[in-house]
């Protein structure tokens, strides 16, 4: 069998996928495995079409740019189908097959590291045609160049996003007109921000996903060297890879001093229509961001000094690069959130200028909204028709992981199951009492049983967990990813945590358990 390319007939969507709503993306004919595991920790369960158009297509464009630079001859990263993301029944997905294809292309990078780090340890999909794509050794210098390029881009975006925010503040109704913007602000002034904001959003997403991707080859190299020479590497890794600057902690600190500067943290990530029916149903209570833990001063200033041979092997330098990459990833994620927050206002303003009702624009894509050839009345009819489709789509249960070549939509394909017993993602040992999320899925601090330590146990943690972090002492989940947003938050807070542990589904409130966030051990004591 020859290597398939998009558009070939090697695999095709299962029958049910032919009946998709018009708002859904077409399933990729070759890369057929989709996972919501990474989106699910940050994004709501369902995204409005407008929000999808601000997330999916820019991410796809950004990923294609990155893939094109790494693998200039890879035709699989082109074509008319989405290769890296998907949108089915209003639910955002990553194309797991596409991301694993990228990993196959990097020498020495195991696609299992991709699924473990970002996709809840889901099984690695079979490569198209059964033959993994190989990018060749030329990828390695390009990865190094990409790392430098990303660093420069992050620097530029760090200036550009605040400039956009400042322009937004100037353009809001009631404000005096800023240079280049009509006096009096208002929807016209806000609308003029849109083209620049769209271009910025593309760059932010591309840089964020490039940062995310680059971490994995770095970790693979670091892991390969360190595991051979450092017998306790698993314990040391979280300590030496902890970013010097904790992005979310810095934002929380800033929010305490200047609340409006971090107001985006109070809004649902990824959903710009988070105050509109039906999208507000999927919005969790984020609450105020909370500061993470300072390092407790128990660790030496330079942990590598205690590791024989580390300097000879350049391990401290390598971990410094990993730390920078981790920090860049979180920083670009926060820049994406900020840019989307600007979009919340700008899109509304453009819709108002076009004479659309406030309930219409969430059902349109950004391109549709900007299509001046379409009269407002037609846009309104289009939005209403889309609203009916969305109402049906969001009632359809969608699995977290599915293969379009095998599973029909809404058939309840099996949930991703960790192939391991549990992964420690934040070191430390805690013995405490089990508490669980409230019945409505929201996190509550829970009873302070016996005055002891509290261990939150749940199926999967999402971004809403940030409100409860100060009230718990450890976390155990049945599902999760080692480099997910939640994992980053947990590390910032220094909370011993184990993800993907099967015992999480059996533990009950009040039970006493031992949690080892270093080794991934969870043990029921009483």
């Amino acid at each position: 069998m020859t290597r398939p390319t998009p558009g070939s007939t090697v695999a095709g969507p299962a029958a049910g996928w032919a009946d998709l709503a018009s708002l859904d993306t077409d399933p990729h004919p070759v890369f057929t495995t989709y996972s919501a595991g990474n989106f699910a920790e940050v994004a709501p369960d369902r995204l409005s079409p407008m929000s999808w158009s601000l997330v999916g297509p820019p991410v796809e464009r950004g990923m294609r740019n990155v893939a094109g630079r790494l693998f200039p001859r890879a035709r699989w990263a082109t074509g008319s189908h989405f290769v890296f993301v998907g949108y089915f029944s209003c639910r955002p997905y990553h194309n797991l097959s596409g991301f694993c294809q990228l990993a196959y292309g990097v020498p020495g990078l195991d696609p299992a590291l991709v699924t473990r780090s970002y996709f809840e340890d889901a099984p690695v999909p079979e490569p198209p045609g059964g033959r993994p794509y190989r990018g060749g050794a030329a990828v390695l210098p390009q990865l190094a160049r990409e790392l430098l390029l990303t660093r420069r881009r992050v620097g530029a975006l760090t200036e550009q996003v605040p400039q956009l925010e400042a322009a937004l503040a100037e353009a809001r109704p009631g404000r005096k007109g800023a240079p280049g913007l009509p006096a009096g602000g208002g929807s016209l002034a806000l609308g003029r921000l849109l083209p620049g904001a769209v271009r910025l959003l593309d760059r932010v997403w591309e840089t964020h996903y490039a940062s995310t991707m680059l971490i994995l080859p770095l970790l693979a190299v670091q892991d390969g060297v360190a595991r051979r020479f450092v017998p306790y590497w698993r314990e040391l890794e979280p300590l030496v890879n902890r970013p010097d600057s904790l992005v979310w902690q810095r934002l929380a600190d800033l929010g305490a001093a200047v609340p409006e500067a971090t107001s985006f943290l109070h809004r649902q990530f990824y959903e710009v229509a988070d105050d509109q029916e039906p999208w507000d149903r999927y919005v969790g209570a984020l609450g105020p961001p909370v500061a993470g833990a300072e390092t407790d001063g128990l660790l030496p200033e330079d942990p590598w000094a205690l590791v024989p041979l580390s300097r000879t092997l350049q391990l401290p330098r390598l971990s410094a690069v990993v730390r920078i990459a981790m920090e860049q990833r979180e920083h670009t994620k926060s820049l994406a959130m900020r840019t989307l927050h600007v979009m919340r206002l700008v899109v509304r303003a453009v819709a108002a200028r076009r004479g659309l009702a406030d309930g219409d624009w969430p059902y349109l894509s950004l391109n549709e909204l900007l299509d001046e050839s379409m009269p407002a009345a037609q846009l309104h009819r289009y939005a209403r028709s889309r609203a009916e489709e969305c109402a049906q789509a969001i009632d359809r249960p969608m699995p977290d992981l599915f293969n379009t070549a095998q599973d029909g939509p809404g058939t309840g394909a099996p949930e991703p199951a960790s192939t391991r017993a549990g992964v420690g993602i934040c070191p430390g040992q805690v013995t405490g009492t089990v508490v669980v999320p409230g019945a409505d899925g929201r996190y509550e601090p829970g009873p302070d049983a016996n005055g002891g330590r509290r261990i939150l146990v749940c199926e999967r943690a999402d971004v809403q967990i940030q409100t409860v972090l100060p009230h718990i002492d450890a976390l155990v989940t049945a599902r999760g990813s080692a480099l997910s947003h939640v994992a980053i938050l947990l590390r910032e807070h220094g909370l011993p945590s184990v993800i993907g542990h099967p015992l999480a589904r059996d533990l009950r409130p009040g039970q006493e358990v031992y949690v080892d966030g270093t080794t991934g051990e969870v043990r029921l004591l009483a």
Binding site: F229, V230, P231, Y232, E235, L236, L239, L298, L299, P300, P303, A305, L306, V307, P308, L309, T312, P427, G428, Q429, T431, G452, Y514, T518, L525
Partner: protein, 364 residues
Amino acid sequence: MSAVSDGRTGGVHEGHLGSGPMRVLVVGGTGVLGAAVVADLTRHGHEVRVLSRHAPAGASSSTGAASAAAAEWVAGAEWVAGDVRRPGFGLPPADAARLSEQTTHVVSCFGSVAVSEGPRTAVDLHLRGTQRLIEFARGCPRLKAVVHVSSVLVFGRCPGIVGNADLQVGQAFRNWYEYGKFLAETAWQEADGVPARILRLGPVLGADGPVAPSTRSGILTALPAALSGLPLPITGRGDFPCYVTDSTAAAQVVRAALEHEPVGGTWTWYDPAAPTLNATLTALCSAWGVIPRIVAAPGLVSAVRLAAPVLGLSREVCDYLTPWPRLAAGILDELPVPLPASPPRYVERTGELLRAHSLGLVAA
């Protein structure tokens, strides 16, 4: 300085705290030193409870140590299965309360002595365990004294001469074991209101204790390389002290540290003969009839580290092939006299014991 009774016959020091037997909780009584302490205390009529995660299987110690000493060690004490890292040691509340109520003295000698351990051992065992023990000590109404067993390696690599009053001397730690000992000692020094004394020891050898030393920890990890017949590069040919001691002598010093008042401060103990690293390795190897080929080759340190597995060395022990901390002259004079005597030829006899019972440890 003069010695008192032989460790095997025991000797009671001056300055006993109170009258009658002590009710001692030994935390970590299954290691080389802990077992010797338990045996010494029970031999002297004290009531001993040992807190350990796992009680020894029985008198037939798997270590191959003298069966009589092992039997005395196991039978003479009450074994309490608990974890020093857990609140209340993970004991049922009634048992924990009874332990607090009855304990008059505590010996803290838990923790790994393996220099290849990582940060988890340093922080979560040495430090968190010490913090739990301090909490426990604060809750003991009859507590008279705590002895925390530390190490001369708490000074890591440091310039100059160090003494009992020193702790933070700008040292650089070679590994997480040293750092863990430093953290634990710091915790005890900051534990206001607890009558605690710190006792710093060097590597514990000896053939007379209930538990035999292991070639998996401390300077004994260098033994396979010393026996290999290959050149073993050590700075200055190892002509610097490595502060070894015999376990039975060290156990007597622990008992003295419990009994002597006023409680507080820091003591240091090692064999007053202060054999050098070269002499210690040579004596250990004598059981095999081998003289180790110790060479002075300072430029080879990094190369030896890289090639350590080939040479039969653990990479971590390579860091101890350079001079150890320089302890102040007369540091042993701060101990109450009389001092215990180390059994004759205890280093050589340690080698003989290891030769008899350490599988695979053969000379080239």
